[in-house]
Chain length 666, copies 2
């Protein structure tokens, strides 16, 4: 930990934007097949090099004629023209239309010499030459030599003919530089016969993850040695591609200077921009810092915005020209936040792409948020739709809508290291240093983590329960945070979520509408066959058994506390005394299956859990009774489609309960 | 043209939606590497199979200690702990923390046995054992055996430690089925070590273009034989991919039954959906119709919505299960309209993708539009932003904005066959059969041709002029329709475009603000070296020379008319008489280069044009004088960014004029 750089002089965020803007991120031109050009941006203007159509073209099925031969013709007094041949689409005419004649013609066919107009087939009849005419509209097959066409309308030259170049004329400007290619532009370029197009090159972005502890997803993990899966490489690579860049993953680098230098210079020689990310280790950051200073130029270290403190911006020598370099923070949400704020706009700019229209969402703060530090921050937030108006989609406020739109915005802070924050937050709100608080209802603009991020259809918080998890599987894009009954009810009281899920018999101080519920059997989970012959909580107190408990937020926890209380009464003992005698009473774990998994792994002799979990994992089960699970809706949101879908799902919960041992209808 | 099917009984559009919904378009599951999963949709719920982190993890750089050893410690009275070793991230601890000891630890490292908390390095000092302490904050290198750590704060168990599973616990539900994978979900899955994910399979969509006249872009075109480039195949394929399908292009089929049957059944055996499109030829449609009836089932033919008349919906036998079939109209805008309205939603549904938030744009009619026929229609429209509020992006009306948003919508109708309509329209407005008119200002919802379609930054109409074309190249996403001076002024009068470009000295009845202009030299373009020795318009009258004129909308046209008028006065002749003597006076072509190209091709002896064009194409030039070109802004739009950019471009036009022979500042 020697030579640690202290980033005491943090640069203003504007300087970070300027520093990145000063770097060259590509911007060249490449040629791609038209078939693969969707989403690319034209690097040059495209002028038509040919006429479309390339010939005078019939735009109706009918007969090619000389207009002057039809002057005065009408329904009662048709012009009689001699049929001299036919012309099909895609074939060169082998007939000439002279005075008093006509040629059958298909839509799209070349106008035969001599003809200047087309009469649509519906305005004609065909008869044997010199015969009496047939009934109007009757189909006659073949183009026999001996036939006459009766034309029942007068034509002007050019009728039903598209002249060569009438659609696009050679030499015309058709598409300008900077045009994003969507299906319609691909169509127009197809019409011009273009099969490759000059487009802005995608900036090539090298991604290096640092830290000895990182393992790429899919590889084996040695947790005892402190290994974790590398989150930032794939996240950043995907975000680079979303911004219009091409991502190149490099092997991850540890803290070794030589190794880091090799990988960084290799990436610099192959890429327009090199991003490092992944490690939270200060020593790895120190090593990178030294490499940049020695093999390039460090423009800026540390940005005065939370979480931009560890950000680096510089240049790296390599290849023909230096590569740009940006070092992202190690925590996943921080890395994505800094990428989205500072790097994605620069990649889009280099790729010639505009900011997506869905890059931001306008909303209103769901709660007041106060800021103690006078520091600019990029605050992670979640989105929730305020009600029926919300189904119209983000930002689409219309007449009668909320002044600030109908999307509510709430802060998400799980501790910056949590990867789960990635999916609990939808984007960030930039809060200036001088802002002391954002009031509830205050308008804010959210920078989405992705243009494809959408406001969840439902936002609920509460007990981690396998039956509710299954109900969620049938809903469209719900967000559920299984933070426990207590936290669910606390948040419901604040009015932010659409619903809470509560287990046990908690005091519900929040206004709510009960959507229904079910009953689950809870107890102690023990190894298969119950080797310690655990009969109940009394054995935990009396025997040398290690317990794994659930957190105090969990409704499941009351199973144990109730049993301890009952035992205390039974034995006329103090609860505290009994609790102190239980080894592991204070040892709480996160999810409903966690205690069971500890028992399964041999780390504990008993864990608090559900009969359903015991059966799923093949563990023994010592019942401690049943408890209710209730789904409680926010009364202001019952009109919302997501809540209505939840109500229906709860009404049909029996389908789900049938598969879950220990569950029954309430 | 025998056996033509008449689609007399058109089905209501709802039946077309239902018929497509009744078809099976895929919906299976496939496994893709996580790295390539962006934009895909989870087919199954993903539960965590491991704890994240997988071990108790230090969340600070500092020292791992036993919290009880620090009780009561503070700045003045630090706890003194013996340093017994260090633990790095990514390494298994080889030290145990016992009473009175501490181990140096890096962020992310495994907590060593015995330790229950981490003290951050900033709250500590290191001293030689038994020595006096050094100044607070001074860095000391190495972890010598003989060192003591001074801890200047009291810790609680768990401080700066992230417990195993605290982020994600094994068994937790992490992402539900139907989740669209954006960078953040890819990040969460990375944390779980997942490297492949089960996603909804992309519906496989076969595309067959029909018609003997079609040639794929890039191949040689024989215009004499009526060949044209195939527009619909690439347009449709791109639109399929945009909707989340996989497009497979099949060779184009002519009108031959056997050939069509072979290709359709091959496609049906390989795809979930087969789309045919491309031909406007009724006979090709007849052949397809027969194949579907004989090798599948026709569910519906013809939909009662303009342009849905030629639409077919059915099933095709092939492979294990029948494939869905939809026949699209032949005209490009019609094909894209029907695809967007009926087919894209079905593909998205099968792919599990929601409708993009930018699929529709809310706006207000810019002009009144009346409908004579009582027929439901899908009206192609263009979008124009009404002013400064428009820069906020489509649909983003906020407080104080126009009640119907600030996007104006105008009908585009170039005749359905034109491929240029593809880029002149931005989407469609569905107009019910009973609607007699849409009033100016009436709110409408536009179905965008692509979620990536944006309202142009500038919409201008007028003279086809090479200097103006170059100015456009420097603007961001302008739309310019070179329909001639007369049409530009007419539209400006209606108040729809942002600007018009007028050449000559036309009467400008529209309110406008003149942004500036330039002068261009026009004349007669003749073959190189002027072999017919053309000296002026008199020669066109007197000699047997073929002329190519420009359309009456064109400001360039006045060059000829003025010259004829002058000659008439000179000769004391009637203008009409002189005009009649000019062979080709009535022969007008579309773009400013078109007459020149006819001369170049030997199709004419003289054409009306610009000196700039003559020099560009190496033709002779007979001057007929100069004319002004003026850029006139809509006075209601001068505050718009796109118009301001245009004003700047016009002010700097000299840079562009320098390269254009015959051009000078006005």
């Amino acid at each position: 930990m020697s030579d640690r750089k202290e980033f005491r002089d943090l640069a203003p965020p504007e300087d970070a934007h300027d520093a990145i803007a000063s770097l060259e991120l590509g911007g060249g031109t490449e040629t791609v097949p038209l078939r693969e050009a969707r989403g690319r941006v034209l690097a040059e203007r495209i002028d038509a090099t040919l006429d479309v159509p390339g010939f005078d073209r019939a735009s109706m099925d009918g007969y090619a004629v000389r207009a002057r031969d039809t002057f005065g013709a009408d329904e009662a007094d048709p012009a009689r023209l001699e049929l001299v041949g036919e012309v099909h689409a895609g074939a060169e005419p082998d007939v000439t239309v002279t005075e008093g004649t006509a040629a059958e013609i298909s839509t799209g066919a070349v106008m035969p010499p001599g003809a200047d107009s087309v009469v649509m087939v519906e305005k004609t009849d065909r008869v044997e030459r010199n015969s009496t005419e047939r009934a109007n509209g009757e189909a006659v097959s073949g183009a026999d030599d001996g036939e006459t066409v009766l034309v029942r309308t007068s034509l002007a030259p050019g009728d039903s003919v598209m002249l060569a170049g009438a659609d696009v004329a050679a030499g015309e400007r058709t598409l300008g530089p900077g045009t994003e290619l969507t299906p319609r532009e691909i169509g127009l370029l197809s019409a011009l016969g273009v099969d490759e197009v000059p487009v802005r090159a995608k900036p090539r972005v090298g991604i290096i993850s640092t830290g000895d502890e990182l393992v790429r997803p899919g590889a084996d993990l040695n947790s005892d040695a402190g290994q974790i899966y590398d989150v930032n490489s794939y996240t950043t690579a995907t975000a680079v591609e979303e911004a219009g860049g091409e991502a190149v993953l490099y092997p991850h680098a540890g803290d070794d200077y030589e190794e880091m230098e090799d990988i960084l210079t290799e990436a610099a020689s192959e890429c327009d921009l090199v991003l490092s990310s992944g490690s939270t280790s200060a020593s790895a950051v120190d090593v990178i810092y030294r490499v940049i200073e020695e093999r390039g130029e460090l423009l800026l270290h540390g940005v005065a915005v939370k979480p931009g403190k560890p950000m680096l911006i510089g240049r790296l020598d390599g290849g023909d020209s230096p590569s740009a370099y940006v070092g992202l923070p190690g925590y996943p949400v921080s890395a994505l936040t800094i990428f989205r704020t500072f790097v994605a706009p620069a990649i889009r700019e280099a790729a010639g792409l505009p900011e997506p229209r869905t890059a931001t969402v306008d909303g209103a703060m769901a709660v007041e948020e106060r800021y103690a530090e006078g520091r600019r921050r990029l605050m992670p937030v979640g989105l929730v739709s305020a009600g029926p108006k919300g189904q119209r989609g983000g930002g689409g406020a219309t007449a009668g809508g909320d002044e600030h739109g109908d999307t509510l915005v709430y802060p998400v802070d799980k501790g910056s290291g949590a990867t789960t924050s990635l999916v609990e937050a939808d984007g960030i709100v930039e809060v200036p240093a001088e802002t002391e608080y954002l009031a509830a209802g205050e308008a804010v603009t959210v920078q989405s983590f992705s243009p494809d991020v959408r406001t969840p259809s439902l936002y609920a918080v509460g007990e981690d329960d396998p039956a509710f998890s299954r109900l969620l599987d049938g809903l469209d894009r719900p967000r559920y945070l299984s933070l426990g009954t207590r936290e669910g009810l606390r948040r419901l009281r604040n009015g932010v979520p659409d619903a809470a899920v509560a287990a046990g018999d908690p005091e519900v101080a929040a206004d709510h509408e009960d959507l229904g519920g079910w009953t689950r059997e809870r107890g102690l989970l023990v190894p298969e066959g119950n080797p310690d012959d655990v009969g109940g909580v009394g054995d935990l107190v009396d025997e040398d058994l290690r317990l794994i408990n659930r957190g105090t937020n969990s409704g499941l926890r009351t199973a144990l506390d109730d049993a301890v209380a009952a035992l205390a009464e039974d034995r006329d003992a103090a609860r505290r005394e009994l609790i102190d005698a239980i080894d592991g009473y204070e040892l709480t774990v996160k999810a409903h299956e966690s205690p069971a998994r500890k028992v399964l792994a041999g780390d504990a002799d008993a864990g608090l859990g559900l009969r359903a979990t015991a059966e799923k994992l093949g563990l023994g089960f010592v019942p401690l009774g049943e408890q209710d699970v209730r789904v409680l809706a926010n009364p202001d949101r019952t009109g919302k489609a997501g809540v209505q879908a939840l109500r229906t799902a709860v009404e049909n919960v029996d389908e789900v309960l049938a598969d879950l041992p220990g569950y029954r209808s309430a």
